[in-house]
Every structure is written in C-alpha cells, then in structure tokens.
Symmetry: C2
Subunit: 363 residues, 2 copies
Amino acid sequence: MNRPFNFSAGPAVMPEEVLAQAAAEMLDWHGSGMSVMEMSHRGKEFGQIATEAEADLRELLEVPSHFKLLFMQGGGLAENAIVPLNLSRGETADFVVTGSWSQKSAQEAARYCTAHEAANTQSSGFTMLADPASWQLSKQPAYVHLCSNETINGVEYQALPNLKALGCDAPLVIDFSSHVASRPVDWSRVGLAFGGAQKNLGPAGLTLVVVRDDLLDRALPICPSAFTYKTVADNASMYNTPPTYSIYIAGLVFKWLKRQGGIAAMEARNITKAELLYGAIDSSALYLNRVEKHCRSRMNVPFYLRDEALNDAFLAGARERGLLQLKGHKSVGGMRASIYNALPIEGVQALVSYMRDFEAQHG
Amino acid sequence: MNRPFNFSAGPAVMPEEVLAQAAAEMLDWHGSGMSVMEMSHRGKEFGQIATEAEADLRELLEVPSHFKLLFMQGGGLAENAIVPLNLSRGETADFVVTGSWSQKSAQEAARYCTAHEAANTQSSGFTMLADPASWQLSKQPAYVHLCSNETINGVEYQALPNLKALGCDAPLVIDFSSHVASRPVDWSRVGLAFGGAQKNLGPAGLTLVVVRDDLLDRALPICPSAFTYKTVADNASMYNTPPTYSIYIAGLVFKWLKRQGGIAAMEARNITKAELLYGAIDSSALYLNRVEKHCRSRMNVPFYLRDEALNDAFLAGARERGLLQLKGHKSVGGMRASIYNALPIEGVQALVSYMRDFEAQHG
C-alpha cells in the first residue's frame, strides 16, 4: 500500500502498523468479543491495556519512580490553566516566552497567579532562544515554565536549562507536546512535563502529564477535581472515565516505538531527517528558514518561499506528489513540515526531492 | 459474525455497523490517504466530518437554533466543575439530588458557588424522584441542576420539570449523559444539557454540551479558557484541538441513528427493551429492582438476586452465554444491565432467557 506522506503539525501522521492493527482489532480485541471502545474502564481487559501503556511509556521515556505518569484530557491549552491551578499556589510563576505556545501559557496562567516573564524573544520574531544566564527570574517563583519545542515557530531546546545552577530552586515545568518521545528527557532538571498526545503519541483528546511526587499537594481549592493531579494520580488516571480508545492507540504507538529501538533510535533517525531537510533549505536560493541554527526544531520545520507568490503552486504540486498538509500556521504563513517519529525518512526524501524540482522549475 | 452482548454502563456497546465502517476507513478516509486520526482539525476533510456530526446531532435531538452545540473534553465529572464556572456567577445554584451523579455535581459545585440542595432522595436509597412541587428552591438560583438519568441508581425523569410553572426563572441544567439520544428532549424547559459521550453517543473522551445562547456570557474569570463555553462556541469547538477521532466515531453513530429512524424510533425500541427486562424482573421470585416504577430508567437497570450468594454464579453463567459486563456498580452491588441504543432487542431477549434458566436452576 502506497500512502501519501503527511506533514501535519497535529493531529499528525501515525505509524501505519498501528493503524493496521487498530483496524484488525476494531470489532474484537484479543478474543474479548468487544471493541476497545466498548470496554468498561474498570474491567480487566482495559485495565491490562492501560497498565501496559503506562509501563511502556515509563520505560521508553525513562521516567524515574518518583514521578507519576497521568493520562488526562484537554490538551496543552487546558494544561495552561491546569498547571497553575495545581502548582502556582496563587503566587508568582516565571515564564520563558519563546513562541506562540509559551506566550499562551503565560497569558492563561495570569488568571491564577502572577505570571512573570523571565525572558521574551518576540522581538526576534521568535527565531531564537534566550540564554538562561540572561533570564530575569523572580526571587522565589512557584515554578518556571518553558515550551521545550515551539510547534509554530520551530524553536527547540537542545538541552534543558539547569535551574539549580542558576540559583533557582523552583521546579521546571516543560510543555513538551510536540517533541515528546523524539529524544530523551533529563528528568533531573524537570518538575513537571505535559503534552497533548496528537503529535508523537497518539490521537487528539489524550494529554500526558508527568509530575514529580512532591508537587502533587499544591493545588488551589478552585482546581476542578477531574484536573487535580493528586486526585488523578490517586485514582491511576481513572477518577473520571479516561479517553480509553486514545490510551489504547497510544499504547500501540509505544509498542511500535519499542520495536523501532526506543527513543535513542528515534532520536538518531530524527537527527538524520532534520539534517536532510534543513540542509536542503539552507542550500537553496528559494527556501528560507529564519530560526537560529543551534535551536532549530527537529520536529517542526517552518520555511518560506522567498517569492511568496509561488506558495499556492508549491502546495498544489506537493499535494500531487502525495505530500500533504505542508501549509504553515496561519499566524506565521509560509510552509511547515512536521517530521514526527512516525514520518519515515522516505517522506523527507520525497519532500526534499520535490523542493529541488520545484525550485529548478520556478527558480 | 456472532458478537457477545455487552451491558456495560459506559464505555458501552457500539453499533456493529459503526465499528465495521471505522475499521474499513482506518487507513484511508474517503480517498484522502489519511486516517481520520491523522487529519489536522483545521483541514477541509476534518472540517466536513465535524460539520456533519454537529448538523446530524442537531437534527436528531431537534436542538433549536438559539442553542449552541459544543464538543468538549473531560466527561460529566469535569462538567460538574465547568458548569458552575460558567453559569453560577459565584452565587447560589440549586441541586436536586436523586443519585450518585447529582450528588457529585452538588459537591463539586460547592467549590465555586453556594450549592443548595433543593431536594435529596438519599433516605430512599435513591429509588425515587422528588415531586417538583416539594422542591425547596432558592429565591433566585443561578441555575437548577438535576441528573435526568442516574446511571448507577437507575432513576430517570420521564418528563423534565417546568421550572417556570414552579415560579422559578432560573435555567434548568440537566446531566443527560446516560440517556441522551434515547428519547426526545423538551428544550423549552432546558438552559443547558451536558453528557459524556461514552454511553449513547460514541467513545469516552468526548463531552457534549448544549447551551442556550443567553447563558454564554456568565463565566467566572477563573474559568479556564479551554472550558469557557463562549470561547468554545466562538471557535466552533476548535479553540483547543478537539478529540477528532471521537467526534468522527460519534458522527458515524449519528448517521446510524438516522438510518434507524431517529430518536422517536429509538425511543420506541427502548421502551420495548425496558418493558421486557423489568417484566422479567418483576415476575420472578429471584430478581429484584427497588426503583419506583414510574421513574425506572430505560437505559440502566440495576437488579439484585435475593440470594446474594448466587451473584458469582450468575455472572459466570452470563459470561458463558456471551452476556458481558453485568456486574453492578461497586457502590451499590448486585447487577446492572445497561441497555443503550446500540444494544439490540436480541440482547435483552438473551438476558431474560438466561435469567429464567438461572432461576429455574437455582430457585
């Protein structure tokens, strides 16, 4: 079967093997006579699915035992409120604003606490990261928030900052929605990580939260029960009915990741894919990526045609070659190729080949 | 294909045709080359899916044009907080407590407003409804909340109360999670209705909210953006990434409901199914349902074996005959048969036949 290559920023490409298995099991999961969609979340069949999904993800991401792994709902935008409701104590939280997502996080948090901008790279057009040494941290922030990969702007931290080395004892909160499972996480530098599943983990509607045990007891009284981390943790992510089918699909993705060799193998492939695409952009006279090279995202590659009048022709030609969903985010325009774990190297090769042909034709 | 009959209270049985179509379309939706899971929620393919789902549901439930229909996340338990965050203004809201779910709603609302119990039937073991004429309503409640079908206790309103006739101008809020789409709704008596999808509409992880336009502007400042009805409505349920695959599956269920003849036809079938099962219980010496006859649920039928020592044998025998997930909720024990829209009459016939055989053997 020859499927097109899907460069959507999310919901995004899924491993074909996962989709095929989900289709085969749709009416009868493992002889249970039920679709996974039809199972009580309290039953032993779904219990097994959820337990395996959590164990596989914990193993893949090497999450230490003093962190809880929670399956929630609402995506990153909901977490922008849920994190300060759980962690801010109504005091001051610091935000490192390096793109659209961290900007939204700071704005939403201001409903629940004093949201202090420790840094803001907007004047660069969000094409760079701020050196941690230059951050203006508060004296005792409840936490420090950053987005470790900005999906829209294509800016990624290659290493997480060491807050302790900056003289700050606060927990670091990272929004890792769009690069989770594409590279290892240094948990010694993290207090809480959250991400919507719909980029590298599974279907939209599932949210992953990884939270250090000592941060579970800080929720404000106005935090809804269904979104209180301690309540969710105490009930093994089943305080309210979880998004069962999405957890099942994510579990299939986790098993696929393990078969691929785990996160280290994915990272190696992701580096290769990103180098190929950025190389093609940088060596061309038509295409342009504005992000500083040391913080370019391996997952989301925004690029522009120097002649914007060619945009529609570029997209139409791409579609003809089976290269889908390359249009850039409406807030920044241009193009964006999201090259997540499930996008094979052949997809990047096909894109690069098309870009060269298009440039030769229109250059 | 001979599938077992699934009596789960939710996540619950799905129409077999829907599952078969979802399996067939899993790798390529309508020639798009994408699974629905892989589609950007902003793209034209998913746009068509979401628009049709909303239009079909609006038609099925006969939702008037001055109500918004929202697809959200978090289920009924999250709505227990989201409703008072949006509607209470921090004032007093009235709760008619007739079972586990309305009780939870009142408890959660107390975080955001004064939650006044206008009635409480707990002393009956939640086996009855309170006559609206007996309700002790507040003077000017921000809203009046009830659960129109209590999933655990099996108590259902056969008609919604007319608050205006009780001298109360407040909007009525109904939690219709476990009987939505099983019978018509009298929208002239409703301000807001909400429900988790995982009983009669689709997969867990999708929440339906139907809200009257004049109630969209009352949210508290602490209401998270992703859960502010006006924000969700203004963005056609795409302020945050919606649970796209769950909306797609629900859309297939809506089309299935239309092929069955719509809600009126489903109601007629549901009456037949419920009469068959309650008739079998009432005419037996072994089985017992404690709910007052005029408010027995057509969807969730809790029943007890007078000899509780037989419970395990009953469940084991049921499983052997392909009658699944009949165990009652842990808080009330006994058995529960949830006989939602997608559970065919043949399933109820098989259950009744088994109950008679079991009684003959053990009676």
